[in-house]
Symmetry: C2
Subunit: 365 residues, 2 copies
């Protein structure tokens, strides 16, 4: 008899709930089991309307509130690296294991709030989605925005990416280009008959080496751009003058530039060289001027940092929904073999969101 | 019944003999069949003493002449590339196929001379050896020099490497170094927390780009050095600041530098960077001041060019034997898919060597 599918017990506390989620292996493209468990746990709840798309589960309240917020988290993880099942160090207050930080602690907060907040002050759309850790083509949030944009309509969105239980606003955009130099092959014993494409890349690296990063301040937050070679390759054989060298450059750009503006900057930077765009994603403005964002920030303590890394908040921005990153876990631990999370951060996120969603604006003011 | 092993017919002309050799596939490390055929063809000849070492065959006259010459060629080829069996274009006078140029035309000349010159004016040591096209560890000429140095003792040596049936004297040395830069990994969204090793290689490429080649004249021949990046690699992932970049540099140096002097030059050139020697082989001085070399050059027409590429002539130089490259075939066609040779060059090489080996010094003078 096969083992029964795992179940999620929403009655338990948020830390135990995190462990349950961590212990259901859910590497990208293998999220069926966890999505089934999530759907099965949420569907019986009478105050929620549950929609399933692929392995993405959406649960909404529909209380006729004047405002609606989205709270979203992805269910997938990077590949297992001998770091499952979870292990709780009670003395240190640390939960170890794949996904504890990125981002099943945040998912547990979402599920706990969804199960228990029967009458939040804002209507809430809880989104637990698939395939964030891989190519955008599979990204559940992106697919949902295309198939059911109405399900993501909101006044404000919170993405529970690890941010040490603090608010990280906006995100920088990212694009990659290949900067290519060409030459002419020749035997290295008669090198003057060829043209060395690797030598031709000297100027490309010299410009990168001399690059001075822009650090614009947007909504009071200082972003920090970066233009970096992330790979270089060239060479045919140990006795051949190479006829091609390719430098792969990653530009991380502040959210006051559009993707097109960022690419124009890079093309200008490498003026005289062949530049091919291979990959691009927009940044997201912090949007802290929007009342919904402001109210949330005030409710959780008022501190905001800029988000340097690219996250799915940019997908909300594209939909016209201001969004912030806010979740338990140190982002520097994401994707590490020894990934872990302070359980106190999970608890704090749940408490702060619960307080915000149960306090009327008048009370907050 | 298995097919009988191929036989070599030494009574045929040198062009047909070349075809026979070409049509016995003999990629490096797979020379047993061709070495067996060569040994079987030479061993019955009463004027020769045949020695076999591995898949290297040595055949010597022992006529008590005052001088001895070595004539050597390798039996192996680079891998088959849809270019076997041989194909003779009679109208154009071109023989096509793997090894036609590098260097079974030369091998055929050796075999034809060995079979027919029963009383050459110099004693001759004919050497047909294995594994020239791969790592030096397997090189049959090198192994023979170690196991039986007496078999290579001579006043002069001719290596039948393709040189368009002209004399190419000496050879340039070659060495390879890895020039390595290091940095510190970081997520590319927070690149200022790391140190980019690829950017750190800018100066390495800038120096190479500005390199000005030395062109010394030795024994009247102008050599031409070359210092080139033949490979570059670096990069961890598309979102990681790379902590290592390695530039593989090939230095081709004129034979007036020793290997140690050449390495010292390269270390000085890359002063301030980590330089690791991976590979080194000495050059060979042209040695045209030696009477045996001079007499040979005069006998075959007096024209001499410098050899830029490294060849096994350097192994003779190490043994104190002056040596030249002289063989049919355009060296630019070696290792090409469409390798071929002008049959007239094979014929000319045989005729010129035959004339030299049957004419006394007095007659030559």
């Amino acid at each position: 008899m096969p083992a029964p599918p795992p179940r999620i017990d929403l009655a338990t506390d948020v830390v135990r709930l995190t462990r349950q989620l961590v212990d259901i292996e859910s590497v990208s493209r293998d999220e069926q089991v966890i999505a089934d468990a999530v759907e099965e746990a949420l569907r019986p709840l009478p105050h929620l309307t549950v929609t399933r798309r692929g392995h993405t589960v959406v649960a909404r309240t529909d209380l006729g509130r004047p405002s609606r917020v989205v709270i979203a988290g992805h269910l997938d993880t990077v590949p297992v690296n001998d770091n499952l099942p979870s292990r709780l160090d009670e003395q240190a207050g640390i939960l170890h294991g794949l996904g504890t930080c990125d981002m099943k602690g945040g998912d547990a907060v979402i599920l706990k709030l969804a199960a228990t907040l029967t009458a939040p002050v804002h209507d809430v759309t809880y989104v637990l989605y698939e395939a964030e850790e891989i190519e955008a083509a599979y990204n559940g949030l992106r697919l949902l925005g295309e198939s059911d944009p109405g399900l993501l309509e909101a006044d404000f969105a919170i993405l529970m990416e690890p941010s040490n239980a603090g608010v990280e606003a906006g995100c920088q955009g990212t694009l990659r280009v290949d900067v290519r130099t060409t030459g002419e092959r020749a035997h290295s014993a008669r090198s003057w008959r060829g043209v060395n494409a690797i030598h031709g890349a000297a100027e490309v690296l010299a410009r990168l080496h001399a690059y001075d990063a822009r650090r614009p301040v947007i909504d009071g937050l200082e972003y920090h751009e970066g233009l970096n070679a992330v790979a270089i390759r060239g060479g045919v054989a140990g006795n051949v003058i190479p006829d091609e060298c390719v430098v792969t450059v990653n530009f991380r750009f502040a959210p006051d530039r559009s993707e097109a503006e960022a690419l124009a900057y890079v093309r200008d930077f490498f003026d005289g060289f062949e530049v091919t765009l291979t990959d691009s994603a927009p940044g997201a403005l912090p949007g802290l001027d929007r009342p919904a964002a402001r109210a949330f920030v005030d409710a959780v303590g008022g501190q905001v940092a800029p988000k340097f890394g690219w996250t799915d908040v940019a997908r909300f921005t594209v939909l016209g929904v201001p969004a912030v990153n806010y979740g338990p876990g140190d982002p520097m631990l994401a994707h590490k073999q020894d990934e872990h999370v302070e359980v106190a951060q999970i608890v704090r996120c749940e408490q702060q969101l619960r307080a915000w969603l149960t306090t009327t604006d008048k009370e907050q003011a």
